[in-house]
């Protein structure tokens, strides 16, 4: 009898040894009543890929506008450049949370991934000035993550360099005008290269990898998506757009110069609302290109019996939108004029965090990033 038990034990031990070592491989057609493949397919095909593709076309338009401007450095061309910049920047709000796949591999910082090349702000103007005057800079180094992307373009298009009178002067009368033009070209090229790599990867192979990876572990697609969603809400949206400028993370007053698109100045609200739309659309599975919706985080929660939570979160998003709508279109000005109102908006945005990070994460049993020690 005991020998049998020992043999049995050995078989089982071997079985676990095998089963626990393959937790990162993908398996298809998992069916527990909830169709994870459908969720991932919807998010990939109707949200992530179209958004990155749209960014590609908007960057292309931006690049054309930049060429036109450099050929004829007129105020009109600079304004066109500014308009195309804003269009592309709005699309950037829709892709920023998807630090998945190639986006996580294009060489950015560990935490921010591809966002390092698109939207680290506030921009460090001193780095741009040093770069243009010394002609010695490398946009791929982490020192330059806060001196490129949309925030750097914001400064180049709308900011006034030391000693200049107008934004345009950087490219015309400034002693370094050639270098400023080169810097503008380099920043554009960097964004286009990085985004092309991401789009190509999604189109060629990663879409299928992403959809097939229905694992429940840390590296399962849904788990990565959910973590990125939470991170974007808390950091990219709540903290960067509202918390930091309104001064709740620092002692000693407001930081109006830390808002998004500081030099353009009157679009910070527009960008924030765009980011909120991106958040809501991912949560509710709403297509990027039209308003149809399909399965996403909301339906997963409903499948698990948490209809009330879905309603609660969506109501909170509505409250957030209302609060933002009441703000000045220029957050920098808002913070200077009436920081109490900005603070109130922050509190409403903050109120969604426990619902997302505690309730949603718990009922989906999301594996929180980087925690791999034992439990009991």
């Amino acid at each position: 009898m005991f020998k049998k038990a020992l043999i049995f034990l050995t078989i089982i031990l071997v079985a676990i040894a095998c089963s626990s070592s393959d937790d990162s491989t993908g398996s298809n057609n998992v069916d527990d009543g909830f169709d994870r493949t459908a969720l991932l397919t919807n998010v990939a095909d109707n949200i992530i890929i179209p958004a990155f593709q749209d960014l590609q076309s908007k960057l292309s338009a931006l690049d054309t506008a930049k060429e036109d401007f450099l050929n004829d450095k007129s105020t009109t061309n600079l304004e066109t450049l500014s308009d195309t910049w804003l269009e592309a920047y709005k699309v950037c709000q829709h892709v920023q949370m998807f630090n998945i796949g190639e986006a996580d591999n294009v060489g950015g910082s560990e935490e921010r991934g591809f966002v390092s090349f698109f939207n680290i702000y506030p921009v460090t103007v001193a780095d741009i000035e040093n770069g243009t005057s010394s002609e010695d800079y490398d946009l791929n180094t982490s020192d330059y993550f806060d001196a490129q992307g949309f925030p750097a373009l914001d400064y180049l298009i709308h900011g006034v360099a030391t000693g200049d009178a107008l934004p345009l002067d950087k490219f015309t009368t400034n002693s370094d005008f050639n270098e400023y033009s080169a810097y503008l070209t380099d920043v554009m090229a960097q964004m286009i290269t990085k985004n092309n790599a991401i789009v190509n990867n999604w189109e060629s192979s990663y879409r299928n990898t992403f959809i097939a990876n229905t694992d429940s572990g840390l590296n399962g697609s849904f788990n990565m998506l959910a973590n990125d969603f939470l991170f974007f809400y808390e950091k990219g949206f709540r903290a960067e757009k509202f918390g930091i400028p309104t001064g709740v993370f620092s002692n000693g007053g407001t930081l109006p110069e830390k808002v998004e698109a500081y030099y353009k100045s009157d679009v910070s609200k527009e960008l924030a609302l765009e980011a909120l739309t991106a958040i809501e659309d991912v949560f509710n599975g709403v297509s990027y290109t039209n308003n149809t919706s399909a399965t996403s985080i909301n339906t997963y929660l409903e499948f698990l019996g948490n209809e009330a939570l879905v309603a609660d979160i969506n109501n909170q998003f509505v409250a957030v939108r209302n609060a933002i709508n009441g703000l000045n279109s220029n957050f920098s000005q808002q913070v200077i004029d009436n920081n109490i109102q900005m603070n109130a908006a922050y509190d409403i945005i903050q109120a969604a965090v426990p619902k997302l990070k505690v309730d949603m994460a718990q009922s989906l049993n999301i594996v929180i990033d980087f925690n791999d020690s034992d439990g009991d």
Binding site: S19, S27, D32, D374
Partner: protein, 454 residues
Amino acid sequence: MLTKIKTYLDTNTNAAPLSVFRIGFGVMMLASIIRFWSYGWIEKLYLEPKFHFTFYGFQWIKPIGNYTYLLFAICGLAAFFVLIGFKYRIAIITFFLSFTYIELMDKTTYLNHYYFITVLSFLMCFLPANAYFSLDALIRKKQYKQIPKWTIDSVKLLLGTVYLYAGLAKLNSDWLFKAMPLKIWLPSKYDIPIIGETLMHKDWFHFAMSWSGMFYDLAIPFLLLYKKTRTLAFIIVVIFHVFTRILFPIGMFPYIMIVSTLIFFDATLHEKILNIFRKGISFLKFKTIALSDQAYRYSYRKLVHPILIVFFALQLVFPWRYLVYPNELFWTEEGFRFSWRVMLMEKAGYANFKIVNSETNDFFYVDNTDFLTPFQEKQMSFQPDFILEYAHYLGDHFKSQGHQNIQVFVDCYVALNGRLSQPYIDPKIDLYKEKESFKHKNWILPFNDEIKGL
């Protein structure tokens, strides 16, 4: 009665089970230390964090820089000495002290099974596990085939206590009537081969697992004690622990329990196991050691017996200390640790700290990632003693930075076993003024629901 006890204490039994237990323990501990080290957890859990959560009364126990590696090395070496039975007494005491020190360094990593190892190794300090089949026996050229029966029984008693208390803790309405927290945990294991797709999301399966887990814990000590049910019980032990190993990230614990329960079997089995070992080491050509015809005698019986009686009395009483605290145990966690409450809760929280200058009312929020690792932040956000200690750390930190009139408030939300999150800590309480103690923390907000049962 007294004579009965005296006769019992004088009863001897075959030493083989305890020797096999010692070897199994040594192997498991050595493997655990190597595993822990090789995963880089020493660095990650003890060296990287800027701040460590300490146990009340043991605040002085902290990681010791790079010497922490030395500490683990000592602990691993001690486990190896226990395994081969060399200088056993010194080895097991060294193991107990170094392992306990490691566990006390940061309570973020607290696990019931680490506590189990601490308690078990303490008990083993008093057991003659080197009497038979050990290097010590080879060196002193004498081995004892007979040891007091109570020594082996004490290990059984400890194992039985762990199972029984783990079972009693499951007698609550969340576990039995809501199938919580398994209802949250199991569906997310949908990618396990075969059962992942078919069973893991089924309601009846959650209940079946909850109830069978409860029956398992309550019944297994008794099934192991009786000879007729023993083999069946052991098979169940193996299946149960292997299954938990597949489902949950619980490291070495299942193997430790499987190996430990072998001690319930009688000596013939253990002699067979020892014979296998003898064959395995026959190339070393050890001389055969003379068997003493005398039984192993304790030198300090008068000391050992009272110590162990107090030890077991404490073990039996300590888990009930939660009864003296008000409110729901799962919510306040006052008296939760060191009580064999294993896998009972799915609890998650979010704690947002606010540093206020009481004179000017200026304030700012703390970014927890500036001070804590993600693992520490996760554990901190739903345990009141963590929250309090961290609040004091933050207050001290900002004081040292020149801030004045510091108050520390927290906005904290916690969700327990699938209930929607609710406020956890009174946001109006300045935690910087509150002191840690064993008294009830009255700044924990009441739980909005009720969990019936033990």
